[in-house]
Structure formats: C-alpha cells, structure tokens
Amino acid sequence: MEGPAGPRARDVAARPDGRTAPAAEPARSAPQVERAAGLAVAGSRVATLAQMAPSVVAAFDASTRPGLCAVTWAVATATSAGTIVLSVVRRRPPGRRWATVDVTVAAALLVLGLLTVSAGYRTGSWIGFQGAYSLSVACALIGVRRRGAWLTLLAVLVAARAVYLLPALGSGVGFATMAGELLTLLCLAPLAWAGTGAMYRIAQDADRAREYAAHLAREEEERRARTAIHNGTALLKLLVEQAHDDPTDSRTPSQVWVQAASELNRMRAYLAGQGRRAAGRADEPQDLATLVETVAAEFADLPLDVVPDLARGVLLDDEADDVAAALRSLLINVRQHAGAARVVLHAEQLEDEDGWAVTLHDDGRGFDPSTTRLGVGVRGLVVESLAAHAITATVDSVPGLGTTATLRSVTRSRTPTPEHAVVAPAREGRP
C-alpha cells in the first residue's frame, strides 16, 4: 500500500503504578489494515483459481486453439500465483508496478480469449475464465492508492472486457448481459478500492491519535522528571555554593539538609519507578491548609509566617502533589534569591467564587518582571505544571519591595451571598 506512513511512534502502555512506559511491541493500525488487504487480495485470487480449475479440461476441449488456450490458462495461473505470493510475503496488496503487469496480462488474456473462447462461453461459464479473472484483477487494484493510476488501470480492464464481449453480441450474448458484465467491474472494483481507502484512513487517524497520546505521555513524563529533580537540584546548588564560598562554614541551616534529604528520596523514588504518592494515598483528597502547613514546615530556616485558616476544608485531589511541588519551588526561590526578612504564605477559600488561592509574599529585593524571565523552576514546576490542572500562577514583583506569587484555582463563579457581600450586614447576637 502506498499511503503516507507517519513516523513510527513508540506505543505507550499504562503501568500499575500509573506511570507510562514504552510497550514492548509497537501496535499500529495502518500496517494491520495493509496486511488484511493483502490477504484479501491473495484470498480472492486463490478463490478464482479454485473456481477455474474444474473447467480447465472442458476449456481445452471447447477451444478451437487448445494449445493457445493452454498458454492462456498457464499465464493466468502464473500471474495469479505471483500476485498471491507477493501479497503474502510483502503483507500488503501489490503496488502500482505489479498491478500494471497484472492488468496488462489480464487485458492480453481477454484479447486472446477472442481466439481461444467461443462466443457462447464468454459469459456465465468458467470455460471462458477471462471475465471472472479480470474481475479478480480489478479487485486486486486496492493497493494502487493514486486515483489517476487506479482509474487508468481499471479503464484498461473495462475496455479489454468490452472488446472480449462485443463480438459475442447477437451470438448468444445479449446487450443486457454485456452491460451487466461491465457494470460488475465498474461497481465492485470501485467499491473494494473505496472501502479499503476508508479503512486505511481510519487506521491512519488511529495511529495519529496514538502518536499524539504518546507525545502527551512523553511530555508528562518529562514534566514529572523535571518535578522530581528540579527542587533537589536547587538545593544541591545552594549547598555547593555555600561550600564554595566558605568550605569551613558549617552554618548551613539544618532544615536545608533535611529538605535536601527529602528531595533526594523523591528523586530516588522517581528513578525506582515508584508512584508519585505513597501507597494508600492515591485517592485521598488533601486539605489545602494542611498541605500548606506541611510544605512550610520544610522551610523552617526562612522567616516564614503561615496563614492557612481560611483554607481549612478545601480539598485537593490529583493536583495536590503539583501544588506542593510548586510551593516548594517558590520557597526555594525565596531562599536562594529574595533575601527576605519576612515571608508570608497565605491560603484561602475564595470568597466570591468557587475555588481557592495561595499567596506567597516576601519583602525581599524583588525584580523587574518586564526584564527578568522566570526561571526553569517557576516556569516548569509552577506555571506549566499547574496549568494542567487549570490553576493559574502569577508572579508580581517590584524591585526593592518584594515579590508576590499567587496560585489560583477557580471552578466557577458564584453569586455573592449576603455574608460574602462587600459590605457585610450587621448581625445581632451570636450566630
């Protein structure tokens, strides 16, 4: 089959731990369709030969030129055998070159049939095998995918068939019979060609979809790899820089060592192919306030105030790990670059919308967002990673004033209730 074949994508399969991995055997649909079409062509030619076989002796007896008749049968058999072998070995229907040879032979057999087959046997009899043979050849053209070439070859066959039948008009073959013979070619051959083409296009679409899924899986895996190693790399950089500045200085905050060990475990877990969450936690939603407090506890060396009260009861599902990784990345950035005297990590359930927000503010040196590109960690682990969960991440900074990073997840807008109104009404007594 001559259809355009895209680059072979490595198939992916889901593993029990939820990660994706290359499957052992690529499974593409288009080659399978090609193989099926090839077998169909081979099968139809075998069937034609089988139908011809019982009539071979009768054909020689009925022919006025038995020698030439024998040659035509031999050529037809050899050509069919060639088509069968070619289709089976190459696992697809014959291409344009062999189809041209096949059609040429079939057309020649039809013309020679004028000499070897009497008019009365040219329709409705296997003694005049040429008609049925030309039909099987026409159906074998499904491997020729260029429309022009296919039409040309089909036209040759139809013309030869017409030449084969025309002399029989009025001598046992009526016009209706002749038209029916030609229409058989003109209907079945296009039907086979179009049906095969449709199946091939469906298979190509399936392959493209599979390639796209594999592409997404690769991107997800790369993102997870970045997630696994970025924070650890940043911590190692911090430790190495300190060792470089003063190898004798042992004042590295113990929390940094603890966190480095934690990141090391995270990287080892990734390399070992373990799932992202510990066993038993995969389906458990996490409380946002608890998550924020847990992450903040890893940064005890920072002057960090945690304000999580308004986020209690906000539950995170699949996004919890990515939110935690994003917060770690942001806090490592603060540790490395901000030089802050005060850092505030605030989490809340939104007041006027269904959703939540986490704000990380530091009063450090800040930067100019218009001239400073976000680092790999913030761009990859925060913005891109959270975007996959429809969580927006923004970073606002003013040189000399500090930096504010906001993670915000809005599921849908909500009409403000009286309690959430801008100016809340006074209440009497205890609620």
Binding site: D305, V307, L310, V344, H361, D363, V398, A424, R427, P431
Partner: protein, 252 residues
C-alpha cells in the same frame, strides 16, 4: 520619669501626632536589664521617657508616655510575683496607656489574646530595628500592629461575619496585610495613596480592637473553628483579671 498622667491622658495623642517621632514619648517595661538599657540607644530618634523592670514599678511611677512598650514575660527570680501577660496588659490599659507588646512570643493565639486584652500592637523582638521603630510609631498613631498570622485570624473573623462594620476598602486592606503586603505594595494594586490606606487601617483597628475586647473565648473559638476551651488558657476574661492571668502565656 514621673508625672501626673491620669487615666486617659496618654491616649490624648492624636492620630497624626506620631508623625514626628520626636513628639512621641515611650516608656519601656522589660525585666531584661540589657533590653532596658539598650533599646532607647538602638532605636535612635525615639524618645523613651522611662524604663522599668516590672509593671508594678511602672504604675507606681506613672510616667507621662504615649505608648508603653511592654514585655509579656516579666516574672524572674528577682520579681517572682510580678504581673505579666494579659493581666499586665489589662492593668496598663486600665491605667490609660496605649500598650505595645514587645515580645519573643510567637504563638498567634497568645498574640491575639494580647490584642483582646487591650494592646494596640504586638511586635516581635526578632524584628529588625527599622521594623520595630516603624511599628512603635504606628502604635502611637493608634494603628493596630500585628504579624500576618494574627492579622489572618482577624481576616477569618471578618470573613465569617463576626466583625461586620467594615467597608470594601477596609476589607481589601485587611486582606493585603494578612498576606504580608506593605502599604507601598497595596498602594500599587489598589490605586490609593499610602496615607489613605493607613487611614482605612486605623478605622479598621478601632473596630477590630473593640470586637476582640468584647468577645468571649467561646465566641472566638466558635468563629475560628476551635474546640471548646482551646483558648481558655490564653484569652483574657471579661471583667477583673483572673488570678490565673498572672501566669498565662508562660507555658508551652
């Protein structure tokens, strides 16, 4: 150091009287000798009219001061019976002084309890000298001064409808402060001048302080989703100081 500062006198300082630091008079109550001797030197530009080891000494002296800077922990071997914690704050407030707690205490419910006892501000001893100076002056202006974790508790009270007389701008300022934003940063996002924002904060301070002082521990526990009795050891009770107040906030 002494003076006739009757009840209410120190609070007669107008909101803007503290704009000029030299006009504001501070008095320090701290049991640590080093702090008493050094703070006035370190915070140059501020006027400390007196320094005392205990609140009892301070009240005996009654200096003319706009703000009394009060340490929370005042009991030591030399003064085992000294008043401290919320009891000391209430006594100082009852004497007519504006109180700024200056402490190493970081538990937010304890710090919130200080505001409930009448303190105008709570400032950490770990703050930089510039932050400390600015915070003391803000208290002198009548502004509520509290770290973000305490401001966050106030935000919870507002969000849950316990503190209701706040307008949109006041709520925006509160939300910003609870997130650690400075007036300069809020000014950029809200398109208001810093002095306007400070005005909103002062108005908000009055409402919040009044609410905290009038609320029972049960009210606050309910609003914050705490269990019954969780605040009992920290929160000042209404009316006269309990004997237990003398030792509250010292334990873990």
């Amino acid at each position: 150091m002494s003076g006739e500062a009757g009840p209410g006198t120190p609070r007669d300082v107008g909101p803007d009287a503290a704009d000029d630091a030299s006009d504001v008079r501070f008095s320090l109550v701290d049991d640590a000798t080093a702090v008493r001797e050094s703070l006035a030197v370190l915070l140059h530009g501020l006027t400390f009219v007196s320094a005392h080891a205990s609140l009892e000494d301070f009240l005996l002296d009654r200096p003319v001061a706009d703000v009394v800077v009060l340490d929370l922990h005042l009991v030591n071997l030399r003064q085992p019976d000294a008043s401290q914690g919320v009891a000391a704050i209430r006594d100082a407030v009852a004497a007519g002084y504006r109180v700024c707690v200056y402490t190493q205490e970081e538990r937010r419910f304890v710090l919130a309890a200080c505001l409930a006892a009448g303190a105008t501000g709570v400032v950490s001893k770990s703050s930089s000298l510039d932050e400390t100076r600015a915070a003391f002056l803000a208290v002198a202006r009548g502004e509520l001064v509290a770290p973000p974790p305490v401001t966050g508790l106030i935000e919870v009270l507002v969000r849950r409808g316990r503190v209701t007389v706040l307008n949109r701008r006041q709520r925006e300022v509160l939300a910003g402060r609870a997130r650690g934003l400075t007036y300069a940063e809020l000014s950029r996002s809200l398109f208001l001048s810093e002095s306007t924002l400070r005005g909103y904060w002062r108005d908000l301070s009055t409402v919040v302080s009044q609410h905290l002082q009038e609320s029972s521990p049960g009210d606050i526990e309910h609003a914050l989703g705490l269990g019954p009795g969780d605040l009992l050891d920290h929160w000042p009770t209404a009316g006269a100081a309990r004997p237990a107040d003398r030792s509250t906030m010292i334990g873990p």
